[in-house]
């Protein structure tokens, strides 16, 4: 009895199978949408009579879907650039600084990640009406940029923390101008952090729905908003097609990062706190 083997402990095995079950639970709804996306009916169902790629085509041919795709890109790109500009400025400025003030500012910069989406929704619903940017691209881009800001700050400051503190001085002592020092020594060292921040900010905007619902009406219909609207009409299989494409893209990205030595490590997701 006491000679039980030290490795194969029963509770551990139970935990392992439970853990696997949890992972299956996590993946299950994602996998389930794949067959739904090939449904040959207009309403949500598993394929009955045959498979059809109808809904994939609708995604790119129906004006509502196509336009919302374009709009989402049109909002997410400038929003990510803006987030990068603000976040990078802050990180470069705050680099190597100590003290409570900087710490407080850092937490403030993470605010848009922490504060519940509904509060942003209420705040921007009001603020954008006030300055006349309700239901405008500029307003949406601004709000999405603010929501993406924490991810830029997180990933850029993470990569800055591993840069040698004397990098710029060193470059200067070797004859580089300040601009050269920045371009040739500092920025190349944090380029993965910058890229990751940009990607996360982009995806944040791409995925944003709660605040968008409150600050837009007719002019701005991003992809998530289009999904939201279509979900009320019927469980449109286009959403399943869209989800399947997103799944495919994510899988490819995961594969690519794990093959490329995972330089762009997965930070916590940029999903909105829904």
């Amino acid at each position: 009895m006491s000679a039980s083997s030290p490795r194969s402990l029963h509770p551990t095995r139970l935990a392992e199978s439970t853990g696997r079950a949890v992972v299956v639970f996590l993946v299950l709804p994602l996998v389930a949408i794949i067959p739904m996306s090939f449904s040959d009916t207009r309403y949500l169902s598993m394929p009955h009579d045959g498979l059809s790629t109808l809904h994939y085509w609708r995604l790119f041919s129906e004006p509502a879907w196509r336009d919302s795709l374009l709009q989402s890109v049109g909002v997410a790109l400038p929003a990510a650039c803006l987030a990068l500009l603000i976040g990078l400025s802050f990180c470069l400025g705050a680099w190597q600084r100590q003290g409570n003030m900087v710490r407080l500012l850092q937490i403030l910069m993470l605010g848009p990640l922490i504060v519940p989406g509904i509060i942003h929704a209420v705040a921007y619903h009001r603020a954008l009406s006030f300055i006349g940017l309700f239901d405008s691209f500029a307003g949406t881009v601004l709000v999405h940029a603010i929501k993406g800001l924490p991810f830029v700050v997180l990933s850029v400051s993470a990569s800055l923390s591993s840069v040698h503190p004397a990098t710029l001085q060193l470059a200067r002592s070797l004859g580089a101008s300040p601009a050269q020092a920045l371009w040739r020594t500092l920025l190349p060292q944090i380029r993965y952090g910058i890229a990751a921040g940009f990607i996360f900010a982009f995806v944040t905007s791409w995925d944003e729905i709660v605040v968008t619902l409150f600050i837009t009406s007719r002019n701005v219909i991003t992809l998530p908003k289009q999904i939201w609207q279509s979900l009320f009409l019927n469980l449109d299989p286009v959403v399943a097609a869209l989800g399947s494409l997103a799944l495919l893209a994510t899988l490819l990205a995961l594969l690519a990062t794990s093959l490329s030595g995972s330089r762009l490590r997965s930070l916590p997701s940029p999903n909105t706190i829904a």
Binding site: Y43, H125, R126, L128, S129, F130, I131, G132, L133, F134, D135, S136, F137, A138, G139, S217, R218, N219, I221, K225, Q229, F232, L233, N234, L235
Partner: protein, 375 residues
């Protein structure tokens, strides 16, 4: 116990303070915009609005999407463009909720002109200064009976909450009354009610045995108690399309739906889902024109157009909108009378909602309704 008291003093106070606040803010906003323009920034340049959309000659109609879009486009918009060729009609199907209307009116960017809402909302929002007053030079207010119009809106069609059910499931003994609707023993399956209190209290009180002519003022406590009875077996939907889908998929066996949408599911399912007007809760739809809309004049033209008896009949055919213009009643073909919420015999079977009561009590009652749902 019996009455939910009207606190008119509070309402007036609320109105005033809202008005004070909105006006005050307008001043602030104007100053803010002045500062911006002094800095050489124009709001127009910030909004990147596609210029075609911002043109004056566009009329933007906000509706609830779904079946309403093609019908309004093919009947009303087509006719409108015929009469006013220089004007382009655009639709926004995101749903004209009071919050969006308020946000738009308060911003300088009122991108909707006219919204598909109802007479209750015309009173509520109108009193808050969010709507334009009816332009009687364009709209003939006498086209509808006086009880179907207010200062801020004219009734445009009848629709009602009707008992909509799975006809295959219930066969020859479908639910006839709200009593049946509440009877979970005899009529198995889930129910669907709107998560907005309008119409729900009336259904509940009728189910509880209140006589139709004794409904108003509504006994809110009694009605909410009745809702509690079936809460566990009820799905509270926020969007009528959702309710259609619940019935279509069989998730729900009986629902209280807008008659216009009930007709839609009936056609969709080739009669598997059916409805009737018995004890329907009749509401009066009304176009609301947003305060400061870019195109107020055309908005009232749109309203006037929708009073056209021929178009009203066409909309009845297509959407089940009950003609509110008495002149249209004579034009309704006999076979359409059955699905006309405004036909004399259907009106007789239904209860007309008291818009004034809701305009005074809506805030309070809606929150108490949510309270019941959330508890």
């Amino acid at each position: 116990m019996s009455d939910f008291t009207y606190d008119t003093g509070y309402m007036q106070h609320l109105e005033q303070s809202v008005r004070r606040e909105t006006q005050g803010k307008t001043v602030h906003r104007r100053r803010f915009l002045q500062v911006l323009s002094a800095l050489g920034v124009s709001i127009g340049s910030l909004s990147f609005l596609p210029s075609a959309r911002a043109q004056q000659s566009e009329l933007v109609v906000a509706n609830w999407g779904g079946d309403a879009l093609p019908a309004q486009r093919d009947i009303l918009a087509a006719e409108f463009v015929k009469r006013y060729p220089q004007i382009h009609v655009a639709f926004d199907t995101t749903g004209p909720t009071p919050g969006k209307i308020k946000a738009l009116v308060e911003s300088d960017n009122v991108s909707w002109d006219v919204a598909d809402r109802n007479l209750l909302s015309a009173l509520e929002l109108g009193r808050q200064g969010l709507l334009e007053k009816v332009d009687e030079s364009i709209v003939d207010i006498n086209a509808v009976p006086s009880q179907f119009r207010t200062e801020w809106g004219v009734g445009s069609y009848f629709f009602s909450f009707v008992i909509t059910y799975d006809a295959v499931r219930f066969g020859s003994t479908p639910p006839r009354t709200w009593k049946d609707f509440w009877d979970l023993q005899t009529f198995k399956g889930k129910r669907a009610l709107r998560n907005n209190v309008e119409g729900v209290l009336e259904s509940a009180l009728l189910a509880d045995g209140v006589a139709p002519d004794k409904l108003y003022p509504l006994n809110v406590n009694r009605g909410l108690d009745k809702v509690r009875q079936i809460k566990a077996e009820t799905i509270f939907y926020s969007n009528t399309s959702e309710a259609q889908q619940l019935l279509r998929s069989g998730e729900v066996s009986i629902g209280s739906l807008w008659s216009t949408r009930a007709q839609g599911v009936k056609e969709d399912t080739k009669g598997r889902i059916d409805y009737h007007f018995n004890e329907g809760i009749l509401l009066i739809a009304a176009w609301n024109v947003l305060k400061g809309a870019k195109n107020v004049k055309d908005a009232w033209r749109w309203v006037a157009l929708s009073q056209d008896p021929y178009l009203q009949v066409a909309l009845l055919k297509k959407l089940g909108w009950g003609p509110i213009n008495p002149a249209a009643n004579k034009l309704v073909p006999a076979e359409l009378q059955a699905q006309n919420p405004g036909s004399p015999e259907n009106i007789a079977r239904q209860i007309v909602v008291d818009a004034e009561w809701y305009a005074r009590n809506y805030f309070e009652v809606q929150n108490r309704y949510l309270d019941v749902l959330a508890a």
